[in-house]
């Protein structure tokens, strides 16, 4: 098995996939806790559908780098969703459902009306489940991913204390003079960036899993924000690495393999947490 792995490591696309996979896993796990606790997880889900729609448009107009369209569209939608979520008149959930299902339908429609290849269902499938795109990365994709990931990491570290404060107690944060609305905006933009990045790795349908499972697993084991954050980052990286390696060795689809490993890790953490809880 090691021999096979060594053999595969000679290919640049395998190395790229591993680098990108680790970075995306790291970024996506960071905001998981905030997303879960702020009841923002549905925004993540809605945004991934928007990203799918934007991806479809980008394929139809034949953009060389689809990111240039997908990223801004997703960011704008993240901001819109956040704003409507705060508006008491339009129910936030309904708006999200409308936007996300609408984007999904339009994306699929466009892909069918203006097919860019003979294998439409293959295209759709790979956009939804990210089946092979991670193994077809060019060096430019890798660089874009590296730059965006580093930006996300730096922003997260610099604003860690503020993100904690706004997530834990928005009213108190605002009473202490923290501009909670700006930080919510920042969180929404970062989530959008992460979703677009993660789409390469697991496809748009499975992004929420990548974001939320490591956080939920870590919350079973640890009880301080810092430890949960670190643990979910470590778990996420390990699961992604394992997932990618398994998919290379056995030829399973990358995205769903990673998510499957995440689910197994969650089950293990849940059992450990339950046992520790009984003892303690």
């Amino acid at each position: 098995m090691l021999e096979t792995l060594k053999f595969y490591m000679n290919f640049p696309f395998v190395r790229y996939a591993l680098i990108v996979g680790v970075l995306i896993a790291l970024c996506s796990s960071l905001l998981g806790v905030t997303l879960v606790l702020k009841r923002f997880s549905f925004i993540g889900d809605g945004l991934s559908h928007v990203a799918f729609g934007a991806m479809a448009i980008a394929s139809v107009v034949n953009l060389t780098n689809k990111m240039y369209l997908v990223l801004p569209v997703t960011i704008v939608c993240a901001i819109l969703l956040l704003k409507t979520g705060q508006n008491a008149k339009i129910k936030g959930d309904a708006a999200i459902a409308m936007i996300s299902v609408g984007a999904l339908a339009f994306g699929y429609l466009l892909m069918n009306l203006f097919p860019t290849s003979s294998n439409i269902s293959g295209d759709v499938c790979s956009t939804l489940f990210g089946s092979t795109s991670i193994l077809t990365l060019t060096i430019r994709d890798v660089w874009l991913c590296v730059v965006l990931s580093i930006a996300v990491l730096v922003i997260y570290v610099l604003f860690y204390n503020k993100i904690f404060a706004v997530t834990f107690d928005e009213d108190f944060a605002r009473s202490a003079g923290t501009r909670a609305d700006r930080y919510n905006l920042l969180i929404a933009v970062v989530i959008a960036v992460i979703i677009v990045l993660a789409m390469n790795l697991v496809g748009s349908l499975l992004i929420s899993a990548l974001v939320i499972f490591p956080a939920l697993s870590a919350m079973r084991l640890f009880h301080s924000f810092l430890k949960v954050t670190i643990c979910s980052a470590v778990l996420s990286v390990i699961c992604s690495l394992l997932g990618i390696l398994i998919s290379i060795l056995w030829g399973t689809p990358v995205g769903s393999t990673i998510v499957a490993v995440d689910v197994v890790a969650f089950a293990i953490c849940w059992v450990i947490g339950a046992l520790a809880g009984k003892r303690g």
Partner: protein, 243 residues
């Protein structure tokens, strides 16, 4: 000069008025209790004082060198907090966020302040514990320590004893009184009128009738006799039962 002055304050949401024409002021060293039935608008008043929401009419003025982010706030508990993975130390330290401003990390002085306030509230031994596993009384002490990190002047407490058992409630009241004796101005929401008239120097009663004045004036007023008289009887009965 007063720390806080409310002039013809009207509170509400969108087009629904909750309370109208509030006039009161809070001076340094005061212990003001805001009383009133559930839904009478006490939390709404507190949020307006903190500028978390805008008043529908009138104004809140700050004076005597008090800045708005120098008010320590203890919110009414929300559901999100209950399953949040956070240690006591992390939460208390987040009380320093106003001091830290745009600085991304807390300074050594701020960390020391957090330790001091944990000691003051008697929760140093809980520093590494998870907030959600603490008892109700311990949780309120954590939030009080956090509020103390934000202020040396004014504390605004929204139902700090809600859901606590009688013994812990008394401890909480004693703790708050001790802080007031140290010179911290207290604004406390409560619907326990008996405790309010026992501890507070001033009473603000909101509801269908509004009253603001010292505790003596309140006890002598019609509305005060109606509410306080009744709850004092309850307190006496409770006392007999204990004895």
């Amino acid at each position: 000069m007063a720390y806080l002055t409310a002039k013809d304050l009207t509170l509400g949401y969108e087009n629904r008025v909750v309370v109208q024409n509030l006039n009161f002021s809070v001076n340094p060293g005061d212990y003001l209790c805001i009383v009133g039935e559930n839904g009478s608008g006490k939390t709404t008043l507190v949020k307006t004082l903190l500028k978390l929401q805008e008043p529908m009419g009138g104004s809140v003025e700050l004076g005597d060198g008090l800045a708005r982010n120098e008010i320590g706030y203890l919110p009414q508990q929300t559901i999100v907090q209950r399953d949040f993975p956070a240690s006591v130390r992390e939460i208390v330290l987040s009380g320093c966020q106003g001091r830290a401003g745009f600085r991304p990390f807390y300074s050594r002085e701020e960390k020391k302040l957090a330790e001091e306030n944990m000691a003051r509230m008697g929760i140093t031994n809980l520093a590494n514990r998870c907030y959600r596993e603490l008892s109700g009384g311990q949780q309120q002490r954590v939030l009080l320590a956090r509020a103390l990190c934000a202020t040396r002047k004014v504390l605004l407490l929204d139902e700090p004893v809600a859901g606590l058992d009688p013994k812990v409630t008394m401890e909480m009241y004693d703790l708050i009184r001790a802080l007031n004796k140290e010179g911290i101005t207290i604004l406390m929401i409560s619907h326990d009128i008996a405790a309010a008239v026992h501890y507070a120097t001033h009473i603000l009663h909101i509801g269908s009738k509004i009253f603001f004045g010292t505790t003596e004036e309140y006890l002598a007023s019609d509305i005060g006799r109606l509410f306080a008289g009744h709850s004092e009887k309850c307190l006496e009965k409770g006392g007999e039962a204990h004895a």
